[in-house]
């Protein structure tokens, strides 16, 4: 048991720092609510954005618009793409694939991880295979998935699901195994039965782990969305990337990249917000 936990600590050394980082983020968010500090940080951020734009502008003039479009050219391209509708359609396509793949990964991964953690023998039996699958680049399965599911939405969703599943499952599993030994003994001494110990001590204790898993899963899921759209039927934001990239329409290409960044930020920030909400008890 202790050995297993050390293995986990090595494999997922990121977990604890992440947890701590989450606490820090939560208190940082709180600090942001105070007017003076938040104003200053806000100004710094706007200042840095201006700096980035200036840098972009300089680089664009230096390199020429066929390599790096200027911010203005990108803005214009964005207006055209939104106006003509292809960007909205692409975002819709990509979000459908991304969110459904991610949702299925959550629905499968969290319960499976919890069950593996709850039934030690089952967990011990399956964990080697889970780790092996997690260590295999999931992109390697794409040809097989295409053979099985074709090039449509099902194949794409499955590729996203496969990418997001492993971090979600493994973190849920690790969270259940990391249950506080001292609290477990306390619960036993009170006379609590196994079921109550599991629902009142083990599961709530695993929540921070699960959320870290969701965040990693969301990031990998987005990556796999683009990968899927590049490898299967070329559609969505990944499809636009391929089209504009291959035809050197760099301004349009940049619009797609920035859209993907925005999707990623919105999803991970929402998860961060949820995390801050469910761990309110950590900060006073």
């Amino acid at each position: 048991m202790a050995l297993l936990r050390r293995e986990f600590a090595m494999l997922f050394g990121v977990l604890r720092p992440c947890r701590r980082a989450a606490v820090r983020t939560a208190s940082a968010l709180r600090n942001l609510c105070k007017p003076p500090a938040s104003m200053v940080i806000g100004l710094y951020r706007i200042g840095f954005l201006a700096f980035l734009m200036a840098l972009w502008q300089v680089a664009a003039t230096r390199m020429g618009s066929n390599v790096l479009p200027s911010p203005l050219a990108t803005w214009k391209a964005a207006q055209t793409l939104v106006g003509e509708g292809q960007l909205i359609v692409a975002v819709g396509d990509s979000l459908t694939v991304y969110l459904s793949g991610f949702a299925i990964a959550v629905i499968v991964g969290v319960p499976l991880g919890v069950i593996m953690g709850g039934f030690r023998i089952l967990g011990k039996t399956l964990e080697v295979y889970v780790f092996a699958l997690a260590a295999t680049p999931r992109v390697a399965f794409i040809p097989l998935i295409i053979v099985l599911l074709g090039l449509g939405v099902e194949a794409k969703t499955f590729i996203v699901f496969l990418g997001a599943l492993m971090p979600i499952l493994i973190n849920a599993y690790a969270g259940v195994l990391a249950a506080d030994e001292e609290l477990l003994e306390m619960a036993r001494s009170v006379g609590a039965r196994r079921g109550r110990i599991f629902t009142s001590i083990v599961l709530p204790g695993a929540v921070p782990f699960v959320i870290v898993g969701l965040r990693i899963g969301a990031t990998i899921g987005l990556i796999n969305t683009v990968v899927a759209e590049l490898y299967t039927a070329v559609r969505g934001l990944g499809g636009l990337l391929a089209i504009y990239g291959n035809t050197f329409r760099m301004a349009e290409y940049f619009v797609v990249v920035l859209t993907l960044a925005a999707v990623g930020v919105i999803v991970t920030e929402s998860l961060r917000y949820i995390e801050a909400r469910v761990s309110r008890w950590r900060v006073i």
């Binding site: 609290l183 003994e185 009170v190 009142s200 001590i201 008890w281 950590r282 006073i284």
Partner: protein, 289 residues
């Protein structure tokens, strides 16, 4: 020094709540290796309403003894009896841990309520009981606070409330005030005494502080290390309540204190596993310049 009597002889007493008879318990250390004997032939009996302090240096199996009495672990040999039967963890036996062990995501009232869930009480009864116990430990104002907002002393009061809520007949306390600052500790001791005087469960109170043992206990079971066993049991015949007068000035207190302190020191100096093993602490440093 008078011994409080042979445990086997006293176990005939109908009032006896907890009896340990030649209990042995050993463990394989967490990192593997040879089995370590934590308790060897430990015998003890605690009468109804008696406050017994288990006093001894670290490594003499005090905590192991409490876990045996709670039924959290089973002895290798010998017998443990609570109310005449092998103990099972539950509402009849309360346990206060040194490290508080509060559920961090549950508010104070829910932490206290945690020990009431298996008693078959209605929600209203549980709420009423929780409110009463929280009031008893003086935390009504903090009933809706999370443990992270509480000081060490307050956390231990929550833990005490949780242990007392099911109204146990035996209360086990494992160095409950060891991680609390000295002044708060003294007040907590008085608080505990007041509560105990009213409810009178049998208490097994583990401590390595001689003063704490004498201030609180009716009887002191002195334990020696490696392997842990009960060396002697001494009655503390000081008048109660002890916080209303200066018990430390009583000749009996001084006598007990001297005896127990010197025994404790001997244990440490004669314990090969101790960092003070073989040191002569009676003399000024002879190896100095």
């Amino acid at each position: 020094m008078t011994s409080a009597g042979d445990p086997a002889e006293r176990s005939g007493d109908a009032e006896v709540r907890v009896v340990l008879d030649r209990v042995c318990k050993s463990f394989v250390p967490a990192g593997g290796g040879e089995r370590v004997s934590a308790l060897h032939d430990a015998s003890l009996s605690v009468g109804s309403g008696t406050f017994l302090a288990l006093l001894g240096p670290s490594g003499c199996g005090k905590t192991t003894l409490l876990r045996l009495v709670d039924g959290l672990i089973q002895p290798d040999s010998g017998t443990v009896r609570v109310f005449g039967a092998p103990p099972r963890p539950g509402p009849d036996i309360g346990f206060v841990f040194q490290s508080f062990r509060l559920i961090p995501w549950a508010k104070v009232s829910r932490n206290v309520d945690f020990s009431l869930r298996d008693l078959g009480l209605t929600a209203a009864e549980r709420e009423e009981r929780t409110r009463r116990v929280v009031k008893m430990v003086g935390l009504t104002r903090f009933a809706d606070a999370y443990p992270s907002a509480l000081s060490g002393g307050m956390k231990q009061r929550v833990a005490l409330a949780r242990a007392l809520a099911p109204e146990p007949k035996v209360l086990l306390m494992d160095e409950p005030f060891a991680s609390i600052d000295a002044q708060t500790r003294e007040l907590m001791q008085i608080e505990l005494m007041r509560i105990w005087t009213r409810r009178r469960p049998a208490v097994l109170f583990v401590t390595h502080s001689v003063d704490e043992a004498i201030m609180l206990a009716d009887e002191i079971a002195l334990m020696g290390p490696r392997p842990g066993k009960v060396i002697e049991t001494l009655p503390v015949d000081l008048e109660r309540p002890r916080w209303t007068y200066d018990a430390r000035a009583e000749p009996r207190y001084v006598e007990l204190r001297q005896h127990l302190s010197s025994r404790m020191k001997q244990f440490v100096l004669n314990d090969p596993a101790s960092e003070f093993f073989g040191r002569d602490l009676g003399q000024p440093d002879a190896t100095g310049p």
